[in-house]
């Protein structure tokens, strides 16, 4: 019976997705075929991930419109091609193939979850195209065809832990996450990092919950108990999207305030907070590379334009949006540098490209296909925005292969010739050395 259910679900979903894709194909901006450069957008517009990814689709469309208003690229107008992979990982690969092979897009902006990125990797390698991936992730990857504009663990998780140690005097740690690759890898890195800082094993509690976990009573009570051992305790949360709301609600219900046990989250931003009453959460933290409350002229200008574009004067901005904007601008700059949209020319041209980010500096694409970023720590305010309590003085270079993990500490990535390798082992001197 169960098997029957899942088959039926699958079949029904495919039908629905097909219909959705058909409907969406019509949304591409019409323009004569010869004068345009096509830009692919591969974000889920239905299913569980629509909650996060829909905004990024809008962001790319917004950037395309802005760029066209500024004269396009290489004298041609840009044309966005939007597809809906419907939060279905295998469908991501099919849709990626459709974008590259059939629509002949020059570049794709897309994916949110790591599993969707892993699913499209072979397609981008085989068809030699470019993917810009805008979300913070667990690292341990560097591919020739992918450019990572979100944070690697050392650009988000480690500075957040450092902040808690220095400013809140935290001695005991709860690493709470959803049970999948990003929290597991990040927590492995954090555990090794904390131990290297002299935190004993009994002061680290690791907890995993299923996707969409909604009953947090036991776990919050456990955290409360763990936090009453006489040492300052903090929670480092890699809990994914939807499960956060009930988690924070339960913290509020059980009376855990940020002054008692602060929670620092890596997946909670302005968009996620829009669905909760934030008054009980004031003081809990998040670490990102961008907050809407960043006080720079660039950011104010961006928010104003974004709200005008979406015709919604309450629309929030968030970190993955900024990463999408940076990626888009980098691609435009690299195409103009290369004078063509041919991936073989654009990929090397991208390395070294620097564009302004929204927090007042420049982010540069490094040879490991990751970008330099500032790290900001924010405390939740009662209006759902973040009060920035700490900003790293300079930009942090991504460590795509974590030095805190056994399997990756000898690896480096450098896509310039002569190395041209995403996992070069400095010990053996060979490319493709012991990866994971």
């Amino acid at each position: 019976m169960l098997n029957l259910f899942s088959q039926a679900r699958h079949a029904a979903r495919r039908v629905a997705v097909g219909a959705a894709a058909l409907a969406l194909a019509g949304t591409a901006i019409p323009a004569s075929a010869q004068e345009t450069i096509k830009v692919g957008v591969l974000h889920s517009l239905s299913g569980t991930m629509a909650i996060s990814e829909t905004t990024l689709k809008d962001t790319v469309l917004f950037m395309v419109q802005e760029q066209n208003a500024a004269g396009g690229v290489l004298g041609k107008k840009l044309e966005a091609v939007v597809v809906d992979p419907a939060s279905n990982w295998p469908l991501f690969a099919e849709k990626a193939r459709e974008l590259i092979a059939k629509e002949k897009v020059a570049v794709v902006f897309g994916c949110w979850t790591s599993v969707s990125r892993k699913s499209v990797l072979p397609v981008f390698k085989e068809l030699n195209s470019i993917l810009f991936y805008p979300v913070q992730y667990e690292g341990e990857e560097s591919e020739r065809n992918v450019f990572y504009t979100g944070a690697a663990p050392n650009q988000q998780a480690i500075p957040a832990v450092d902040y808690l140690m220095a400013n809140e005097g935290v001695k005991r740690w709860v690493l709470a996450g959803t049970d999948y690759v990003y929290p597991r890898t990040t927590n492995k890195i954090l555990e090794a990092y904390l131990k290297s800082k002299g935190v004993p094993a009994e002061d680290i509690m690791i907890n995993y919950t299923p996707f969409g976990h909604s009953d947090w009573q036991t776990i919050v009570a456990d955290i409360k108990k763990f936090g009453s051992a006489g040492k300052k305790t903090a929670v480092v949360s890699t809990i994914n999207g939807d499960a956060n709301v009930p988690f924070y609600k339960e913290l509020g219900n059980q009376g855990i305030k940020a002054t008692d046990i602060p929670v620092v989250a890596f997946s909670v931003g302005e968009e996620e907070l829009a669905g909760i009453d934030t008054k009980p959460l004031v003081g809990h933290l998040a670490a990102w590379n961008y907050f809407q409350s960043v006080d720079t002229p660039e950011n104010k200008d961006f928010i104003a334009k974004w709200r005008a574009y979406t015709k919604n004067d309450k629309r929030v901005t968030n970190d993955p949006m900024e990463a999408t904007v940076i990626g888009f601008n980098m691609w435009v700059k690299a195409v103009e540098k290369a004078g063509t949209t041919d991936p073989d020319a654009v990929i090397p041209a991208l390395i070294g490209v620097a564009v302004p980010n929204l927090s007042g500096g420049f982010s540069a694409m490094m040879p490991n296909h990751h970008i330099t970023k500032p790290v900001l720590i924010g405390e939740i305010k009662d209006d759902g925005q973040f009060d920035i309590v700490e900003q790293t003085p300079g930009l942090i270079v991504a460590e795509e292969w974590s030095p805190y993990l056994e399997g990756s500490k000898d690896l480096i990535a450098d896509w310039r010739s002569p190395m041209n390798c995403g996992n070069f082992n400095v010990k053996t001197g060979k490319c493709g050395g012991a990866g994971k």
Binding site: L4, F5, A8, R9, A11, A12, R13, V15, A16, A20, L45, S46, G47, T48, A50, I51, T54, T55, N167, E168, D179, N207, Y208, T209, P210, G212, H213, S214, D215, Q217, T218, I219, A221, D222, K224, K225, S228, A229, G230, D242, V245, P246, K249, G252, N253, Q254, G255, A258, T259, P262, E271, E272, A274, G275, I276, D277, G283, E379, D387, V389
Partner: protein, 544 residues
């Protein structure tokens, strides 16, 4: 218990200023004549630096300054109303009319450009401690009580002199015992305390017997006398044993709470699937529609009559029932009635309906979560012994049971209930008795859907209100109905509660992920043994 003379000497300087602060305007004037009022311009200047370290230091100085202006400044900082200008470097309080000078409490004539003094968790803790020290001598006993608890929680040794002063003149026995406890919590971890005093403090704290007491008892310094450490260890041991028992009770409570959520989610399905035999994959979406009804009701109330907010859920319950019930009737009339007896087609059709409803809501309300607020009577918690019970969860259990009883009564005692049962048991016989079976089918499906909508109102309080809300409950709902026994409402009740409690008893040992897997395996094995579930319904409806 004796106060050590040394402590009194230490506190000597502070005593005077604190008495001046607390003794009322008369003494204050007298003091002002003798020596000028305590000068707090230095900490105020420090606050204007807007640097966390300086702010924290300034708060400490303010708390002990004894200045009558200090409490106002600390309160303004806590409310985000303390602002500063960079030139001249000065702090002001933002009043309703304009900026106010914190020392004179007079409006500032030409206000400079100001920014609020920033507050983070560290500062919030310092504010709590400062507030505690400042309001220990407040004329209001409730405030003194709160202050005593705040000081106890902060365990700030600097507050000890102020606490001793307040303790000496406290008359209210309740506040006095809170202060004694606060003092004990500070004394336990302090260096240079006599063993006898420390043991007395250990006994006091140990009598509390809760999680916080454990944390305090563990702070006995390593340098303490062996008999103190022994007393503390014994107390910790006793509390831990006691807490272990309570935690069992707590887990059962969590289980009942989870069970009530499962019951709410499943009870509508117990009608559409259990009684009618329709494999209704759109059941979760009915729950989701109920949650969105709550959201719309709250939005309307916020716009037109915010005073009614506390009643928003009560208003939403009948509306959600009617709205989702109507949607259910429409679905039954337009789709399901053509598919009776064809389980696979029903399954596919209702799955399609669920996707359509999800995407419709996504288009209408956007893909992101919507905020549904909790009315004041559903927030907070209370404690029975060491059992902490949150009002929200308690009300959901009450609501689930009410819904269950109401549904049972409808099926047993009303005419429509009788007709529903008649049609389920023998459609042709019922038809020949003059019952309009078509109409009863629609009403039954509508009833099941409406109840799912009511469940949505309750679930909007604990889960995301997003288009995906229903998906997370559909599998659990089927699990409960099948486990409890298809077609039996009591089975659904017992099934939901036993699955909830089993899940919560497994979770502390196996973790959330393994616990859930283990539960599924247990249910699968159980269904192998008893394919009809806990309470098998005997009769022809199952055979049909």
């Amino acid at each position: 218990m004796t106060f050590s003379a040394r402590l009194r000497r230490l506190a000597g300087g502070l005593l005077l200023t604190l008495f001046a602060f607390c003794a009322g305007p008369g003494t204050e004037q007298a003091m002002a004549q003798g020596s000028s009022a305590p000068d707090i311009s230095a900490p105020l200047a420090q606050l204007a630096n807007d640097n966390y370290g300086d702010t924290e230091a300034a708060l400490g100085a303010l708390a002990l300054s004894g200045s009558p202006a200090a409490a106002g400044v600390v309160a303004a900082l806590a409310d985000g109303k303390l602002v500063f200008s960079t030139s001249p470097r000065q702090v002001y309080i933002r009043g309703d009319a304009g900026l106010i000078d914190p020392l004179t409490m007079q409006p500032v004539a030409d206000a400079p450009a100001v920014k609020p003094v920033r507050v983070n968790n560290r500062i919030r803790r310092a504010i709590d401690a400062a507030n505690g020290a400042l309001s220990l001598v407040s004329p209001d006993p409730a405030k003194r009580m709160e202050a005593a608890n705040a000081v106890g929680r902060s365990r700030d040794e600097a507050a000890l002199p102020a606490l001793d002063v307040a303790l000496a003149k406290e008359a209210d026995p309740k506040v006095k015992s809170a202060m004694t406890l606060a003092r004990a919590s500070i004394v336990i971890g302090k260096e240079g305390i006599s063993p006898a005093e420390r043991i007395a403090a250990v006994d006091l704290v140990a009598a509390e017997g809760n999680q916080e007491a454990l944390a305090i008892l563990r702070s006995v310094p390593a340098s303490a006398a062996p008999e103190v450490k022994q007393a503390a260890a014994a107390a910790i041991d006793a509390i831990e044993r006691n807490l272990a028992m309570w935690s069992m009770a707590q887990n059962v409570w969590y289980g009942l709470s989870l069970g009530s959520v499962l019951l709410l989610a499943a009870i509508g399905l117990a009608i559409t699937f259990g009684v009618m035999g329709v494999i209704n994959m759109a059941h979760g979406e009915m729950v989701m529609l109920g949650a969105y009804t709550t959201f719309v009701v709250q939005e309307l109330i916020r716009t037109y009559n915010p005073a009614l907010f506390d009643l928003s859920l009560i208003i939403a319950i009948p509306l959600a029932f009617v709205f989702t019930g109507l949607i259910g009737i429409i679905i039954e009339r337009t789709v399901i009635r053509f598919l009776y007896g064809r389980a696979l087609e029903t399954l596919l059709a209702t799955w399609g309906i669920s996707l359509i409803l999800q995407q419709a809501i996504r288009t209408l309300f956007g893909p992101t979560n919507r905020e549904v607020g909790a009315p004041s009577w559903m927030s907070g918690s209370f404690e029975i012994g060491q059992l902490s019970i949150t009002y929200g969860r308690l009300w959901i259990i009450v609501f689930a049971i009410l819904v269950f009883v109401a549904l049972l009564a409808t099926l047993r005692l009303t005419r429509i209930g009788l007709e529903m049962r008649a049609v389920t048991q023998n459609r042709r016989m019922a038809a020949s008795m003059g019952i309009r079976t078509n109409w009863v089918d629609a009403a039954t499906f509508g009833l099941g859907s409406g109840i799912a909508g009511m469940a949505g109102v309750a679930l909007s309080q604990i889960d995301n209100v997003s288009p995906n809300l229903g998906q997370s409950y559909i599998i659990d709902s089927f699990l409960v109905v099948v486990f409890g026994g298809v077609g039996n409402l009591w089975g659904t009740l017992v099934g939901a509660m036993s699955l909830g409690v089993a899940n919560k008893l497994l979770e502390p040992y196996a973790g959330a992920v393994l616990g859930k897997i283990a539960l599924l395996v247990i249910v699968i094995l159980f269904i192998q043994k008893r394919p009809r579930g806990l309470f098998a319904l005997k009769g022809r409806s199952i055979e049909a």
